[in-house]
């Protein structure tokens, strides 16, 4: 299956921003989390990784971000502008939305006026205008995740890593945030690597779905997603979507067995 090029379709360049070659990860306690992983993510690609719990999906992201170092293989990063969205929103509870979104630019020693402007722009992009002065405890789970997203956006990331960011949200919020994310993706054309355990979410969001096996995590299958961006939420109910989801599900079961 190939992508059908359209105006909205972000251009896929050949130069990968992230390149994993034969990456393996063994923790000091002997647990093998990953083995023989080959994976590339290029600009304009939105790659999702689905796999059973504990298969090392998160380890994959942690290696990509530099939080962990692979015990084998090579990892090449063609950019330093990496956005990382954690499983929970990880907002600082004593900071307002505005101050939370400014945090990363602040840590990178950007001048006050620059980071304030960047934060405002990001807040608008995730649809949180008007909530700048609110504290995290006054926000819903979905709004907190939007704030977290805005915070990463201030880095203008070329590579965007998502570690099951919507896992803790209810389905309605989850789908709405997925749509927002796709809109931002179409606008910013970053390279996305998204971890999830939801097959529907994987197929709906991405240009490519990677299926991992249980521990030690290996890539067992890969599927190109043929749907154009912007995606109509209703494609979830088309036979093509169902057929592809079925294939991914099947691959997941095979890999798990």
């Amino acid at each position: 299956m190939t992508l059908s090029p359209t105006i909205e379709q972000p251009a896929v360049t050949t130069e990968p921003l992230l390149d994993f070659r034969n990456v393996a990860m063994q923790f000091p306690n002997g647990t093998v989390a990953l083995s023989g992983v080959d994976l590339t993510v290029s600009r304009g690609e939105f790659v999702t990784v689905v796999g059973p719990s504990g298969c090392g999906k998160s380890t994959l992201l942690r290696i990509a971000s530099g939080l962990e170092t692979a015990s084998e293989g090579t990892v090449e990063l063609a950019t330093k502008r990496i956005g990382y969205v954690f499983q929970d929103a990880t907002l600082l509870p004593w900071r307002t939305v505005q101050a939370n979104v400014e945090l990363l630019a602040e840590l990178n020693k950007q001048p006050k006026r620059v980071r304030a402007a960047k934060a405002r722009e990001a807040i608008e992009l995730v649809g949180l205008s008007g909530f700048e002065k609110n504290l995290p405890k006054e926000l819903s789970g979905g709004m907190r995740m939007r704030t977290s997203l805005a915070r990463s956006l201030t880095l203008d990331p070329e590579l965007f890593l998502f570690d099951e960011p919507f896992g803790a949200l209810d389905e309605i919020t989850r789908e709405r945030l997925g749509d927002e994310l796709l809109r931002i993706f179409a606008e910013q054309q970053f390279a996305g690597l998204f971890i999830t355990h939801s097959v529907a979410e994987a197929v709906y969001l991405s240009t490519r779905v990677i299926v991992m096996s249980g521990r030690p995590g290996r890539i067992v299958d890969e599927f190109e997603v043929p749907f154009d961006y912007p995606r109509d939420p209703d494609i979830r109910f088309t036979p093509e979507f169902a057929a592809l989801s079925g294939k991914v599900s099947h691959a997941l079961r095979e890999g798990h067995a």
Partner: protein, 284 residues
């Protein structure tokens, strides 16, 4: 008809809100007030019985404490001025000691939070400090340092330091792993992590520690006095004097005053904590 219904609705709404507010006020102050009434009733009952068996000196009636202490009829002086002077001195000692404990405790905890081996080296001494019976230490301080203002403050520091150290350390270390990694991903320095993440995160625990230390510092001030029995007379000196003269009414007045000082300092620091972190921090 419709206007009547409308006005009925709008007029009931504020009433509902008001009732809820009253309810919360009542539920907040009602129970402790009831306990106070019960205690006072028991006091009067017991003291009344002691009067009847001619042992009133064991537990004077509450109003007798007030009259004998502040409005004595038999030509004696009111203890009011002396009590006030002692209260001032003890408050000063307690607050100075507390201030030193806060600063030393926070710095000590920050140093320990920097490396596991530093914590392992220093924490045992914080625990030992906590375990030294202060009553055993006070005479020693008197002999070696003397009975000065500084010696009294040292007693306060020794007794109130541990909660500051342990609470601050706990707060600094209880940062979420992912929040720490968020800073790590931006290659934030140790100092940045401390000032922008660990320290603000520790503030609720620090204020909780302050509240405990504040009460302990007042105890330290009074314990120091009672043992030193010299130098400027704090509340503790007054207590020892009244005790040795079996002036029970005055003794109770002094004891209650020191309890009140502890309560006031505890409440003040609770309020400071609430003002500082109550906006964002919700204790679970």
């Amino acid at each position: 008809m419709s206007t009547a219904v409308k006005s009925a609705v709008t007029s009931t709404q504020p009433v509902v809100v008001k009732q809820r507010k009253n309810g919360s006020l009542l539920s907040r102050f009602g129970p402790p007030l009831i306990v106070l009434v019960v205690i006072m009733a028991a006091w009067y009952g017991l003291a009344g019985y002691l009067v009847s068996v001619d042992k009133a000196f064991l537990l004077p009636l509450p109003h007798v404490i007030i009259v004998d202490s502040f409005f004595p009829s038999n030509g004696a002086k009111s203890i009011g001025p002396a009590l006030l002077r002692s209260l001032g001195l003890s408050t000063q000692v307690a607050l100075f000691g507390l201030a030193i404990s806060i600063v030393v405790g926070i710095v000590w905890a920050i140093i320990m939070s920097q490396a596991r081996w530093v914590e392992r080296s220093l924490f045992p001494y914080a625990v030992i400090l906590q375990c030294i019976p202060i009553l055993a230490l006070v005479p020693l301080i008197g002999i070696t340092i003397g009975y000065s203002f500084e010696a009294r403050i040292l007693v306060c520091v020794l007794i109130s330091l541990f909660p500051m150290v342990s609470n601050t350390l706990f707060g600094l270390q209880s940062v979420d792993r992912s929040q720490r990694e968020l800073f790590q991903l931006q290659s934030a320095s140790r100092w940045t992590v401390l000032t922008k993440l660990q320290f603000p995160n520790a503030l609720p625990a620090i204020f909780a520690g302050m509240r405990i230390s504040a009460g302990l510092s007042v105890i330290g001030a009074i314990v120091g006095d009672t043992f030193f029995r010299r130098g400027q007379p704090g509340l503790g000196n007054l207590i020892s004097v009244y005790a040795s003269r079996v002036q029970t009414a005055e003794l109770y007045a002094a004891v209650l005053t020191s309890a009140l000082l502890g309560v006031v300092i505890f409440l003040v620091f609770g309020l400071i904590g609430k003002l500082a972190v109550g906006r964002w921090y919700t204790s679970s």
